[in-house]
């Protein structure tokens, strides 16, 4: 496996400081953010109230 990047040659600013694919911390944060997004999407669809079907008269 490749060696760990110390991240010393990269000077990130802004959001890229925390979410990038070069430093180990950045990669970890990207992974956690992706998992959190997937969990949020799944929860959203699970907890979404279902529409009641209209009652039709005979």
């Amino acid at each position: 496996m490749g060696g760990h990047d110390a991240g010393s040659q990269h000077q990130f600013t802004g959001i890229a400081k925390y979410f990038n694919s070069y430093t180990i911390i950045g990669r970890r944060n990207c992974v956690l953010a992706t998992y959190a997004s997937i969990a949020a999407i799944v929860l959203f669809f699970k907890l979404k109230p279902k529409k009641q079907a209209a009652v039709t008269e005979k």
Binding site: M1, I25, R27, R28
Partner: protein, 227 residues
């Protein structure tokens, strides 16, 4: 009683009593026990030389934290190699053709490596799920792909061993049956088939050893990533 093609893969029972426990316990009696003497006999020494060589081979690239797995992986290797080789004898049952057995080895050991990684170095364990230098647009896709490939590892480990051994045994039975059936009708073709059977048996001996080695090697690699 005529045997069908798949009878060799049925878990053996005798009057309703399962014999798989016996099949699994048999390798233990085949290993040489070191005596109380300082210098043991040739067989014990040969066995020890093989074990030492194997342990060094597997654990040289590993950091010290993983060395406590040496006894476990060594015994797993010996167990698998013995079961595989014994299964090449005629009319024997090979426990490693059973997916249940191979998954029972693969899943807990793989899970142990993942849990060790998450416990001891969670940042590195999670960070490895995203390859270094991935373009930004591809980050979510690659994380999902790497997660799937992580979870597929135990499945691949178990199925690789099962499929290799089952396919080999089935091929041996098919070609042996073909040679046997062809002999009264076309002896020359039967001789060619027998030569093919001989070469296939040599291949299966190699596959038996290699598959055991690959199983243990891959587990040691997964451990290396996480320890």
């Amino acid at each position: 009683m005529t045997l069908s093609l798949f009878d060799q893969f049925m878990s053996p029972t005798l009057l309703g009593v399962p014999l798989i426990g016996l099949a699994l316990a048999l390798p233990w009696v085949l290993f040489f026990q070191p005596g109380a003497r300082w210098m043991n006999n040739r067989l014990v020494t040969l066995q020890a030389v093989f074990m030492n060589w194997f342990v060094k081979q597997i654990f040289q690239p590993m950091s010290l934290g993983g060395h406590k797995w040496a006894a476990l992986l060594m015994s797993l290797m010996l167990f698998l190699i013995t079961l595989n080789m014994l299964g090449l004898l005629p009319y024997t049952f090979t426990p490693t053709t059973q997916l249940s057995l191979n998954m029972a080895f693969a899943v807990p050991l793989w899970l142990a490596t993942v849990i060790i990684g998450m416990r001891n170095q969670p940042t590195h364990a999670l960070g490895h799920l995203l390859p270094e230098g991935t373009p930004t647009a591809l980050i979510p896709v690659l994380i999902v792909i790497e997660t799937i490939s992580l979870f597929i590892r135990p499945l691949a480990l178990g199925v690789r061993l099962t499929a290799n051994l089952t396919a080999g045994h089935l091929l041996i039975q098919l070609i042996a049956t073909a040679a046997f059936v062809l002999f009264p009708m076309m002896p020359s073709v039967a001789i060619l088939t027998s030569i093919l059977l001989f070469l296939l048996t040599l291949l299966e001996i190699a596959v038996a050893m290699i598959q055991a080695y690959v199983f243990v090697l891959l587990l040691s690699l997964y451990l290396q990533e996480n320890v």
